[in-house]
């Protein structure tokens, strides 16, 4: 029974981290374009980086 004393809080904590991660992802706009995200994952080029912008494309 004493195992429950840390198992239950641990379960809630892990669940809570998942929830916070989702809310953060939502806030940072990761769910704005679900179709496009699927394709972006396949992109070979490095992600858009402001420092690299002025290089010839």
């Amino acid at each position: 029974m004493t195992a429950l004393a840390w198992l239950v809080p641990a379960a809630l904590l892990l669940g809570g981290i998942g929830l916070l991660a989702f809310l953060w992802a939502l806030r940072s706009g990761q769910f704005e374009d679900l179709e496009g995200a699927a394709y972006r994952a396949l992109e070979d080029e490095p992600a858009d980086d402001p420092a690299r912008r002025d290089e010839p494309q």
Binding site: M1, F22, L23, L26, F31, E32, G36, E43, R53
Partner: protein, 729 residues
């Protein structure tokens, strides 16, 4: 649905005011961005414009957000750059869309929180119920209940807001909606469970209350996201259509700007072959214009200075100079605006299927709950027990399945239609279109393509066609373009002639080695006009003139679709503003027996009102400005993406492409959607029939209530998903 009932002038003024604010962020609708490759090309094209600092394309919304440094770039540069990369783009106002997305996110956050809470509480209460009667000790069970309470209370306060707010609003208006029993069940269950937890009793309903909240929120979220997506697609279509106008500044210089930013008083230059971007009065220039999008009339009309001209008119002749006027001074538009306002009010009375179900259901739920409570009190049970049983009844009857039944089906139906190039604009449009029992078509632009095509192509000798096309290639007149297209079909190479001179409104001429060649009106070619219809002559000196006749061609599958509708048993009618003879020809060609021509917008409405009085529900399919009031008055309405923007704004569905077949797809999808929604109601109803007596008798434990509820919700969702099947057509 009330937004488009606004007087047209209000929207125009607001857009005029938006011009002063020069944003450094810009959202563009992109018409043909369809894959991951396009996504990257769009971003790259936008970034290639000097001064653009970032570009982020959104494939689902078909838009790109561009940030640029003020003064170094403007929206037109970006649009031109995208055009060079092969994408047609149009600027749009993002503010309204953002507010809608904010509501969607507000719901999604609550879905997440309720989901988290529901899972954890369920875990705890399954342990409690599995352990009860076994070796679980009472203090541990109590601890678990307290933990559940700790999770449930903040969740209910946070995630329940959308329901509480809506229920309060309904009660203030002295009405009952579905949110009243929902809020009541959640609040009572939570309060009662808290009371029982404090007293150390077993009847704790936290799991049921939060699970209920979770499923109901999913339903709300689906409903809202359908709405947001439908409106977003509709806004894209409208922005893409408005295009770019050339304005002449006070100092005589010309500037290109997006049509939505035009303001009254601006002076526009409309070149031959261009569409007029705003309503106005002709200042200079005269010639012929094609007003088929406004009046349904396919014959070109003449235009002269001082005449009123409407957005969507195609300029066939000379370049016209137009002063943009406020929309409310225009008589036709004012009339149409008034008719629309009246027609929209009629439609607002439509009650959605789910609301009608709730109207019957909500009192029944309250009645059963109250009866259970009073019944048990009369039987001598303590008030806590009676209340617990009453809550069980409220929770059991509180229809997760009912709340999911319609939105889940509609979102599946809408995504099926989206994939086939049909935009569902009104969320209740699917329900209304399923009820229609008569289909009314407009002619120009709906049954026909709305642009001239060469008739009797085979009868024209190769040589004449090639020579005429050589001249025609120099012109942007729609007839000239029709000739070029016909020549292009017959032979692969075509030589554009040099030294062609165009006399706008009359024709083309070229002095060649073999004498003069002319292409244009009968008068221009010095031959006698034969029929006075839409025709163009080609004449080379010393040879017999060749006649090219033009007509607005039917959509390729118009007759087929009409036939299919007849087989399905729909009575059909054709209402048009065009000449009677033209309407009769088209009616005969597609096989519609009931037709009326030369109708004014008000007469179209009268005809529809007559149908409505006879108890018929009309599906109106039309595209012109003159159809807009009829589209608003009909029970449900469809318009092609080439329609006048006011018609697109009014219609419940907008379809893209050259074919008319989407009309059939809309009807069959809507019918299937209704059938599945009714099945879902059936599932929810059966479940209630079985579960309610048990709940009233007090046999339903909180755990059983929660499990049964989830099962029926999943059943309903899976049933709805059947509709989404099938790929792109």
């Amino acid at each position: 649905m009330t937004a488009h009932a606004l007087p047209i002038s209000a929207a125009t003024k607001a857009e005029g005011a938006a011009r002063q604010a020069r944003p450094d962020m810009l959202t563009l609708a992109i018409e043909n961005m369809r894959c991951g490759g396009c996504l990257k090309s769009v971003e790259r094209a936008a970034l290639s414009v000097p001064g653009v600092t970032s570009a982020r394309a959104n494939l689902a919304a078909k838009r790109v957000s561009v940030a640029f440094e003020e003064g170094r770039a403007n929206e037109l540069d970006v649009i031109e750059a995208l055009k060079r990369a092969g994408f047609s783009a149009a600027p749009m106002h993002a503010a309204k869309q953002d507010a809608e997305r904010a509501r969607e996110k507000y719901l999604l956050r609550r879905v997440a929180v309720a989901g988290f809470a529901a899972m954890n509480i369920m875990l705890l209460s399954v342990s409690v119920w599995a352990g009860s009667g076994g070796d679980m000790d009472a203090s541990l069970a109590a601890l678990f209940r307290w933990l559940s309470a700790l999770i449930a209370l903040p969740t209910v306060v946070y995630a329940g807001q959308p329901f509480f707010a809506s229920a309060l609003q309904a009660l203030r208006g002295r009405r009952l909606n579905m949110d009243v029993p929902i809020s009541l069940a959640i609040l009572l269950a939570t309060a009662m469970s808290l009371y029982q937890t404090v007293r150390g009793n077993e009847q704790v309903y936290f799991d049921a209350a939060v699970t209920l909240l979770f499923f109901l929120l999913i339903g709300r979220f689906l409903d809202e996201s359908l709405r947001v997506r439908a409106r977003g697609e509709a806004q894209n279509l409208l922005s893409l259509q408005s295009g770019i106008a050339t304005i002449i500044e006070a100092d005589g210089s010309q500037r290109r700007m997006p049509a939505h930013a035009l303001a009254p008083g601006d002076c526009l230059l409309v070149a031959a072959g261009e569409r007029v971007a705003a309503d106005g009065v002709i200042l200079a220039g005269s010639g012929e214009v094609d007003q088929s999008l406004i009046t349904g009339e396919t014959e070109p009309a003449s235009a002269s200075p001082g005449q009123q001209i409407y957005a969507g008119t195609l300029n066939l002749g000379n370049a016209l100079k137009i002063e943009v006027t406020a929309a409310d001074s225009a008589t036709l538009l004012a009339e149409i605006g008034g008719l629309m306002l009246a027609a929209e009010q009629g439609k607002a009375r439509y009650r959605r299927l789910a609301d009608r179900a709730a109207q019957i259901y909500a009192p029944a739920v309250h009645g059963l709950g109250a009866a259970t409570f009073l019944g048990w009190l009369l039987l001598g049970a303590p008030w806590q027990t009676a209340l617990t049983y009453a809550i069980a009844v409220l929770i059991i009857t509180c229809p997760c399945a009912l709340a999911l039944a319609v939105p889940a089906v509609q979102i599946a139906a809408a995504s099926r239609l989206f994939r086939r190039g049909i935009v569902v604009k009104a969320p209740d449009g699917l329900e209304r279109v399923a009820e229609t029992d008569i289909v009314v078509f407009d002619k120009t632009g709906t049954l026909t393509l709305g642009r001239p095509q060469l008739l009797d192509e085979e009868a024209i000798p190769d040589e004449a066609l090639a020579a005429a096309a050589g001249l025609a290639a120099a012109s942007r007149h729609p007839y000239a373009q029709g000739i070029v297209a016909a020549a292009g079909k017959r032979q692969k190479t075509m030589v554009a002639a040099d030294g062609v001179e165009e006399t706008p409104g009359r024709g083309l001429a070229r002095a060649g080695a073999h004498g003069e060649e002319r292409l244009g009106s009968a008068e221009w070619c010095e031959v006698k006009a034969s029929s006075g219809g839409s025709e163009v002559w080609y004449r080379r000196s010393g040879q017999a003139p060749v006649r090219f006749r033009f007509a607005d061609m039917l959509r390729t599958d118009a007759a087929e679709v009409v036939g299919a509708l007849k087989r399905r048993g729909y009575p059909l009618a054709l209402l048009s503003g065009d000449r009677k003879s033209a309407v009769e020809t088209v009616a005969a060609a597609v096989g519609i027996e009931t037709w009326l021509g030369e109708l004014r917008p008000a007469e179209k409405i009268d005809w529809l009102a007559e149908c409505a009085r006879a108890g018929r529900k009309v599906l109106m399919i039309g595209d012109g400005l003159n159809d807009a009031p009829a589209l608003a008055a009909a029970h449900a309405s469809v318009s092609p993406a080439s329609a006048a923007d006011i018609s697109q704004r009014t219609a419940d569905f907008v379809f893209q492409g050259q074919r008319l077949a989407p009309v059939l797809e809309i009807l069959s999808t809507a019918k299937r959607a209704r059938a599945i929604a009714l099945q879902n109601f059936g599932v929810a109803f059966c479940y209630n029939i079985v579960a309610v007596p048990f709940a009233m008798a007090g046999y339903v434990t909180p755990l059983i209530a929660a499990i049964v509820m989830s099962t029926s919700s999943i059943l309903v969702t899976v049933n709805a998903a059947r509709l989404a099947g099938g790929g792109r057509s």
